[in-house]
């Protein structure tokens, strides 16, 4: 069911909304507030018409990372009351749990707020950034990097399979070996990304990128009344929530 459609929002509204949600997540440090913000963000994504199965699939990959960070925070933060003491050694404290919850909630909010952008086309965001007076080169680079994420993921998977197909038994490997393998995956990804960047720069210049100082656009984004209201209301509400 869709109560309102994020697809119809101006891309600038979605960028501002995402920026405000992320700012709130990073600057507010209360668990209850962050939990409420996460619920609000999830509702926005779900009711706004984002494809939920795809959205959850994107966040699923982050679960392992968030869980690991949660565990690390629990065991390595020493503030607050001791909650779990074994043999006179304090393992978990209330401060550790609180910090772990805050960190996990922040990461979830960042991930879900980014999903708001899935309701639009990359070229619209590029246009939105340009109309927000961001230099075209920077806007283009930002969008190009977003565009290449699935390709990098595909390449990482290929290296991962290649390592295993050359006899590396990852399931039975120690943590040290696994960590080493993951580092090995980074090498071809990094080299590939650098090579691609160079090739892309050449290809763009061959097609007259930056040949003229001024660019023209076929379309222009026009703010509707609703969009203007969102652009004013969202930053104001964010400011209020940050101050109080």
């Amino acid at each position: 069911m869709t109560l309102f459609s994020l697809v119809k929002w101006d891309p600038r509204c979605k960028i501002i909304l995402m920026a405000c949600l992320s700012t709130l997540a990073m600057l507010r440090g209360e668990v209850w507030f962050l939990f409420g913000l996460l619920v609000f963000t999830c509702l926005l994504v779900m009711l706004g018409g984002a494809e939920l199965s795809g959205a959850l699939g994107q966040v699923k990959g982050l679960l392992g990372l968030i869980f690991s960070l949660f565990i690390i925070q629990c065991f390595f933060t020493r503030s607050g009351e001791p909650w779990l003491v074994i043999g006179g050694f304090t393992l978990i404290t209330s401060g550790g749990i609180e910090l772990a919850c805050i960190l996990s909630l922040r990461l979830f909010i960042l991930a879900f707020s980014a999903l708001l952008l899935l309701t639009g086309e990359v070229r619209d965001y590029l246009l939105a950034l340009v109309q927000m007076k961001i230099p075209y080169e920077i806007a283009f680079m930002t969008m190009a990097s977003v565009h290449f994420i699935p390709i990098l993921r595909e390449e990482a998977l290929n290296v991962f399979y290649a390592i295993q197909l050359r006899g590396c038994e990852l399931q039975k490997a120690s943590w040290r070996k696994k960590l080493h393998t993951y580092l090995e995956i980074c090498l071809p990804i990094l080299v590939g990304a650098l090579k691609r960047t160079r090739a892309m720069a050449l290809a763009m210049e061959a097609r007259a990128f930056r040949a003229y100082p001024k660019r023209t656009y076929l379309r222009r984004l026009v703010l509707k009344k609703n969009d203007k209201a969102i652009l004013v209301a969202v930053p104001v509400i964010t400011l209020v929530l940050l101050v109080y």
Binding site: A162, R166, G167, L187, P188
Partner: protein, 229 residues
């Protein structure tokens, strides 16, 4: 003893049509078979299913009678060598020598045996002078030869090569063809070559499995033996 695909059905989650439908084929040890077909007809998908990287929605792959779904990728990799279309995505070590040694170490071979195989294959694929080089500094053709050398040094029972001649010059293409013939007969290795290179297929492959057109759902044509070598 064979690498068999039985009644495979495969469709990508966001795909409109099935890439493979009721597809069956078997590849025998000591045979050099070509897998051909139009762009996007599912050749690379099939190779990934044969290796257990992708799981078909229906059907199964048997590696010498064992269901590949029950094996880990490392177990499959000890019997089936795979060279991808893009060699740069299969190289991950910091020198050519280490790249060669990676699989051999995982096989648990002695230092002497590893050294012997590394020397032989580097020499055969004319990469000896690059022994200490960073693999990503090599040209695409050299990277492909390095990958072939690294996989062949593991002496797999089956070998899947995805467009192996794509970056090779005429001379090295002939070298590869001759070496494939050699390991096919000497090691009784079953080789599947995914290729658009009609000359290579005609010259070196004994059998051609033609995949149906992109997204088509009828059975493939398993053409009769092309030419006995």
């Amino acid at each position: 003893m064979a690498l068999e695909a039985k009644n495979l059905y495969f469709k990508y989650p966001k795909g409109k049509k099935a890439v493979l439908s009721d597809f069956s084929a078997s590849f025998l040890p000591g045979e050099l078979a070509a897998l051909t077909g139009a762009n996007g007809c599912g050749k690379t998908t099939l190779t990934k299913i044969l290796l257990g990287i992708l799981q078909p929605q229906q059907g199964l792959v048997l590696l010498d009678g064992r269901n590949i779904a029950e094996l880990t990728l490392a177990e499959v990799g000890r019997s089936v060598g795979y060279v991808m279309q893009n060699p740069a995505q299969q190289l991950f070590c910091t020198s050519v020598e280490k790249e060669m040694d990676y699989g051999l170490l995982n096989l648990g071979l002695s230092e002497e045996e590893r050294e012997k195989r590394i020397n032989y294959y580097l020499e055969y694929f004319q990469l000896s002078r690059h022994r200490k080089s960073f693999p990503f500094h090599l040209s695409l053709g050299e990277q492909q030869r390095l990958l072939l050398a690294a996989v062949l040094a593991m002496k797999p029972r089956y070998l899947i090569l995805d467009e192996p001649t794509a970056y090779l010059d005429v001379y090295r293409r002939r070298l590869l063809g001759e070496h494939l013939q050699k390991i096919r007969t000497e090691l009784v290795c079953g080789i599947i070559v995914v290729s658009h290179d009609r000359d290579f297929v005609g010259e070196y492959c004994q059998r051609e499995v033609v995949m149906p057109g992109a997204g088509m759902v009828e059975n493939h044509v398993d053409s009769p033996q092309r030419r006995a070598l």
